[in-house]
Subunit: 554 residues, 2 copies
């Protein structure tokens, strides 16, 4: 199932095969019209607006561009371009053929896109409306659940359903179960009934059960959707007359052992099972004005570096599954990072700066849920400052070199805290990375805050609890070698489970519940013979043969 | 691994082989001294105070008896009866040989016992002190983590460690990871280091990292433990001169297709894959006085029925894994249940009534995390009232018969709400079952509260949202048959995952994180070849052969 050519997350509307963005003033229609032969593999057909990763890559791109390229769009209406079907969910043949790893990573990416839709509603005042014009099943309804408002045609055909349990012996695991109980707040026993009936629920009952927000007769549908879309738009503060920023195609060179972007470099040490990702500080000072920043557009450093880092991360997830350890490095002038952060904060009211801030936040969240060990190495010449210091706080561990290296004229490494570390980029659990880190000693957050702007060398950073370990230069190489070797000698599965728990101390939110609880159960089920075995439901779907289940309850 | 004779959860101190309760006034020592040949199976030896389910069954019993039989005990000191080792954790050979189902259920039961220890600290003012006199590894440290206070001998040998990831390729999944981050609030990167080093942490570093509360030199150990135990005791409100209630041996008859207790009857319909559990209302009115209730002791209905129901549930979990559906029924006079509830509430300040209330709460929580489908059927002659109505609210669904049956002179079924449903028995998520049910419509909780004491027939109960479905008597048999058949036709794994998510809407707590997040990841890892495959770490442990891991990161 994993194709031989790398999966590429870079796309743009002119290349879309499954979606159309149709802007109409303050409303945009995002039309799902999946090409059956446009999947990642020829082994299945994407019938009935079912989707695979290829479809979701475009959706992710569209959600992103709607925020940056269409500042005037206040409501996005997701609708189907096909008759009588909104979306049939993830393609079942694809799921049946996919490797476990692909399924898990596909679900994670899809979850992230749906959270990005919710983030657009909450933080960008770009509200999503799911206009469910036809049957809407499984992942299709999970997509609708990501919208702020769900409308359903009131006819005999248009239903919402989560038939995964009865049909496929898996879960509506891309957020479905959690959104039903925690977002829609459907009563748990009704949710149980709903998730047990293949045929789903339609009409007024779907409203009564809180599954959709309203049903509308077919005859009034287009008008009602338009009226609702404009009513939702009225809540928005997005600028009516701003010029969007085009997210030009991402410059990337893939070599045998490296992936090179303008500001991010990935070195692949396949023999050691690790990748080193080095992020570059801005090459110069921030723009002289907000106008200048807008003129830079996608070349403005925070936006550029976030796009590159995100692409690198997604590439590593899908195309380099054997590299279990990501070493996080930075290079450049810390002050330039701090200055760019200051620019973002100072112009926080500007729509574009707001978009960039929330985008950086989402990219950092992708790091939090990436199932690779993350170790930050902080050396002379690095710039773990402000936004880039979040990389060290997202890492499972950080090691910092004490003082300078012999014969090296660079000053000692210094970590620099900025405003960015105290609220700009909350994690999925709603806390900052420093708050999560210091759950047991909240005073340490305040102590750290009092050091904003001070270059903190290794021993000071260690004393403040900001790094895991300060390391003498004569120990550095050995220490890292031993640490990396130990890490990559452990079971990748045990590390995935361990990190998924240790990274999310403290409160849980709908978002962390989706990644931590629902995903884990789904991953478990995706391993079980009852779904993926030769007689399992996923394998036999569509064959006419009924699956045979081992009846043991675990 | 699953033995042929049923696993029996009934035990008592005179039959313990692994633990000793040594009461000493307000302090009791709970001494772990595992007999190597006393495991559930002869296939492994329980060396170095390692444990299997047999050891945990006794611990669970001891924790329970300390609350009921020893009201004067205010601090329980868990210590080892062996030299130089506190506890080596779950026995690895046992884990290596156990079926997936046994491992999962073993971990769940062990988790529940540890939560019962925490419940004793919080709600019974019986505080646990882990006196770690020797090495304390894996599940041993997880046990210590359940205590309110951890003391560690300050010598070279006494360490705490969670070596599961490096040694066994599994997680410290019996609450370990979650308690480290959420209870002890260990900094996440230090937790990462701690969980990666086989040898663990000792001495002052263990205090600095928040892994233990204090370290004490060996020479001062016994005194220091005693002083600390009495200091903790001083916080308690437990009565010094009350008489404990002996938990006499539980009357139970196991027949081919039934398990019969005085107040609980379990019918096993193996051909249909379901068990019907019928709970009887009290046979008479509540005791005339508090003294009379104390005199009744373990025969007092709420205590008696909770013990029987709990035993039935544990029996079904471990000994009847093929019965995927539990049908919950009640029989008797609802008023008697309500009257007993009233007695419990009225005498809520009494230590014994407090114990009973929290015990019933824990038994209901066992139901919440039991991975079987739960359907409550509410018929004429039933008594889903107050405490017993919680069974219906814990169920995934409830079906209630409308009116009377033809030719039956019993009055229509009625659900009766009582104070018990509004705070006596919070779920693991901290909410009542009604609050969880009505997360989306909090007004419905208040509407229900206004109906306290009113017998609610099916259509009224449905209108109040208290049941899933009201059913006409002529439809009843068919409706249930179809519902049960549909449920048991689904994949048991998908149902386990679905129910584990739908039952816990809303907030998460340390407790729900352990069952929902950590457990799910552990179950996943327990399925993976890297731990349980022929070349996996659990299988090869102790063989001298290094495991071979598939390096793919999922």
């Amino acid at each position: 199932m994993t194709p031989h050519s790398p999966i590429d997350f870079r796309t743009e509307p002119s290349r879309y095969r499954h979606w159309r963005i149709e802007p109409d003033g303050e409303v945009a229609y995002l039309v799902m019209d999946v090409r059956p032969d446009g999947g990642l593999s020829d082994a299945y057909e994407l019938k009935l607006n079912s989707y695979d990763l290829a479809v979701d890559i475009e959706l992710n791109d569209a959600v992103q561009r709607l925020r940056f390229e269409h500042p005037q769009v206040r409501t996005v209406v997701i609708k189907s371009g096909k008759d009588n079907v909104f979306c049939a969910g993830a393609n079942i043949r694809m799921l049946g053929k996919a490797t476990h790893g692909h399924k898990v990573n596909f679900c994670k990416f899809t979850n992230e896109t749906r959270l990005a839709i919710e983030d657009a509603c909450t933080n960008s005042k770009q509200t999503y409306l799911a206009a469910v014009n036809g049957s809407c099943a499984g992942g299709g309804y999970e997509l609708a659940l990501a919208a702020d408002h769900i409308m359903l045609v009131d006819d005999r055909r248009s239903t919402v359903s989560l038939p995964e349990t009865p049909l496929l012996a898996v879960l509506p695991g891309t957020g479905g179960l959690t959104r039903v109980t925690d977002k829609r707040k459907v009563r748990r026993d009704l949710a149980d009934v709903f998730c047990s009936v293949e045929e789903g629920v339609r009409g007024q009952k779907a409203v009564d059960w809180r599954l959709v927000d309203e049903v509308v007769p077919k005859s009034k549908w287009d008008d009602a959707v338009s009226v609702r879309a404009h009513a939702l738009a009225a809540r928005s503060d997005r600028p009516a007359d701003a010029k969007g920023v085009t997210l030009g195609s991402l410059e990337r060179r893939i070599e045998a052992d490296a992936i090179i972007y303008p500001h991010v470099r990935v070195e692949l040490a396949r023999d050691r099972g690790l990748a080193t990702v080095t992020v570059q500080a801005p090459a110069g000072p921030p723009p002289v004005s907000l106008e200048a920043a807008h003129a830079l557009g996608a070349a403005f450093w925070p936006l550029a570096v976030a796009r590159e880092f995100e692409d690198a991360l997604l590439h590593l997830r899908f195309n380099e599954p054997l590299l279990g350890l990501i070493v996080l490095r930075t290079e450049g002038d810390p002050q330039r990072v701090i200055d760019h952060d200051g620019f973002l904060v100072r112009h926080g009211d500007d729509w574009l700066m707001r978009e960039i801030r929330h985008y950086v936040k989402r990219v950092l969240k992708r790091l939090d849920v990436t199932s690779r060990s993350l170790i930050a190495t902080i050396e002379p010449g690095s710039c773990f400052a402000g936004t880039l210091a979040e990389l060290a706080f997202a890492a499972d561990r950080s090691v910092m070199l004490i003082g300078s290296r012999d014969g090296d004229n660079q000053p000692p490494a210094a970590l620099v805290l900025g405003e960015a570390n105290f609220g700009l980029y909350p994690m999925g659990n709603g806390l900052t990375r420093l708050e999560t880190r210091f759950l047991g000693e909240p005073d340490s957050v305040e102590r750290a805050r009092s050091q904003i702007g001070t270059p903190l060398e290794a021993e000071d950073a260690a004393a403040l609890g900001l790094i895991t370990q300060a390391c003498e230069s004569f120990d550095w190489d050995d220490e890292l070698r031993v640490t990396f070797e130990a890490r990559t000698s452990f079971s990748p599965d045990a590390l995935t489970g361990m990190e998924a728990n240790l990274r999310f101390a403290g409160p849980e939110t709908m978002e962390t519940k989706i990644f931590g609880r629902l995903t884990a159960w789904q991953n478990w089920i995706f391993q079980r013979p009852n779904s993926v075995g030769a007689h399992g439901a996923l394998k036999l779907y569509g064959s006419g043969i009924k699956p045979t289940f081992d009846q043991e309850r675990i």
